[in-house]
Symmetry: none
Amino acid sequence: MTDAPATPRAQRRQAVSDLKRQMILDAAERIFQQEGLDGAHMRAIAREAGYTVSALYKYYASKEEIYADLLAASLDRLHASVEGATSADVAPALRLRSRAHGFFDFYLAHPRELDLGFYLFRGLQPLGLNPQLDARLNQRLADSLTGMQADMQALGLPEADALRETTALFAHATGVLLLVHTGRIRMFGQQGPALFDTYLDGLIARIPSPASPP
Amino acid sequence: MTDAPATPRAQRRQAVSDLKRQMILDAAERIFQQEGLDGAHMRAIAREAGYTVSALYKYYASKEEIYADLLAASLDRLHASVEGATSADVAPALRLRSRAHGFFDFYLAHPRELDLGFYLFRGLQPLGLNPQLDARLNQRLADSLTGMQADMQALGLPEADALRETTALFAHATGVLLLVHTGRIRMFGQQGPALFDTYLDGLIARIPSPASPP
Amino acid sequence: MTDAPATPRAQRRQAVSDLKRQMILDAAERIFQQEGLDGAHMRAIAREAGYTVSALYKYYASKEEIYADLLAASLDRLHASVEGATSADVAPALRLRSRAHGFFDFYLAHPRELDLGFYLFRGLQPLGLNPQLDARLNQRLADSLTGMQADMQALGLPEADALRETTALFAHATGVLLLVHTGRIRMFGQQGPALFDTYLDGLIARIPSPASPP
Amino acid sequence: MTDAPATPRAQRRQAVSDLKRQMILDAAERIFQQEGLDGAHMRAIAREAGYTVSALYKYYASKEEIYADLLAASLDRLHASVEGATSADVAPALRLRSRAHGFFDFYLAHPRELDLGFYLFRGLQPLGLNPQLDARLNQRLADSLTGMQADMQALGLPEADALRETTALFAHATGVLLLVHTGRIRMFGQQGPALFDTYLDGLIARIPSPASPP
DNA sequence: TATGAATGAGTCTTCATTCAT
DNA sequence: AATGAATGAAGACTCATTCAT
């Protein structure tokens, strides 16, 4: 009722609320990993979280909002995977390789998170994903890619080219992952990782080594 | 009375029936293009086709069967697009380029057909797509790709390499298309076609010119 | 068009029609035995008969009418089973026993025909079973029971008592058969045939031997 | 705050919920009595109960579950009817008679509950009646019969015989009720109750009088 | 005579969401 | 802060039956 000093009490409330939101999210994550997108309906999430369905709506305005947070968390883990194995004092080429693999292997190991991305990024409008949210998600994804772009620039690629190559790398990885995920890759008798490695080799070879030109 | 296995009457009937099946398919196509996969439920399709829902079941045993036909038709159009601009008396590199663009441009112009392919190829089991159908659809897709593989071999690439490169090309195209389709490409400030062209250029450059064999 | 002499031509037509009706009925019977009542829908019957569904309606005005004929045929077989093992020159008690077993064993071996009877006799009205048909079916059933009644009378029971005992015998048999058919008899750890035999023994014992009065 | 496992609040809620479940059941009962099993579909039940169809699913997980409760209640009423008129200080023969009539008269007055029993007890598997439920329903039925078995034993019948005779009594009652219910009894010009009485008389007469203990 | 086309009513069930308490 | 109750729209599919040809 009283709008309050806006500090101690409100902060505590916020903290508690955040925690619960997190717990709901964790539950959603578990369900989502086990059952996939279709199985992750409100009821299932609520049950897993130990809440009522309607309680969830206190913390999340819609199912899609949960999904969005799920995707945000997923993108954070992706980021961790990309940056995880990297060390600053390695040759840029190695760093790029490591990061790219961080990316590719993450989705290879967690194909469901790929679904999530497609689901959410596709029909923006109907899902009620507001532009803000969209931008934030895009940003998180971008965070995982700038490292690679930097690596390419460190390898001597001009910024514009590096950005283009990063985009292409992202597209290629996505394409291969999809091939794997849908099982269509069997049709070609190929292996996802090998395919990606080949692309990566080509990419690095293509970048003119800046240091040692004769 | 005395007549070959197929009575003219039966033939006529069959023809009419086929036509109606086609008209239903067209209606489904329209709905699908306008509303997407989720909007293309039996009721909507029936309404658009001017039929009762139950009437549809005379022509299609299930929703998935309609989807499958939709995809089959889509893959046929894809094939036409791939082979359309090709001519036999062109240099292999040009042919490859033409075919690849036939592929890429088709999905660029009809992003929803991409959805369809993902939908159907993904959940094979849960959707009740029987293996036969699956195989047929796979075959249709393959038909669109063998041309490119042949072009690569004509360019001097050993068969295994050509197959690998075709797969990679397919993956790359898919990845870029997805980037475009989901709008994420704006995030990178890139253009789908340009991206794909670059890949194609790189691919052709990478293929060792067959001119120099001793 | 011409109403015809009403004889040769019409007779032939009638004969052909009867034959086809019979063939449909046979098909229905097969389906019914294999699939039960629920599985015996018009489509299935038509398929088995090599007809279109709508063709069936030329011979039978409704599904229930087919069922009725099915039941009539069933009752004929029942009759045959009841009278089959009987011979005129046997002691009445034996004859009664034989007929009663003819009845009981028939339904024990063909439980589905029991369903049919229940289904048709139950909701007379809604099923469109007209009173005539109902009477005819009742008559057929009665035909299978009069023998037993006669046996009882031959054993010295007054007509009224014999009728009552026949009714009771029929009821008892039905009750036991139902117990068997629904599996509820397991609940009691009893055997249908044994139960029925006991009843039969009691019944015969109960009938005062008419021969030996001084 | 400190309170037993079941909060008063929760208890109240439970009570209200139970009441509503009961009201739905009552509605289902009414529909079922008026329209029979086929008429008792979810929509009709919901309408009668003043609910939406989906609201029903909060209280009952499936149609069969409603049916099962309907049957359970029916069996309880049966039980009440069987035990209702009994008193402990009556001669066993009278008690048996009273109980048997409690059974017979109940179904005579409520023929539809007979249907229900057949429906549910029959197709266990296809109906999704789980074994637990099945066992519980069987138990309820058994409860109505053990009294009679006990009476028979009190009359001097060995346990095994009493069980057999109880089963036979049950079968006989069922058979006669069916005869009445389907209207076929008119065919024989008999009366259900009279028929049953006769059987009962015979049964009691058949039981060796325990009168000879000193 | 038999067909194929078409109907329309009907079945159960699921889900995201809202609201009074 | 959390609940339970309730909604309503939707969704795929089946079946007996009719009618023009």
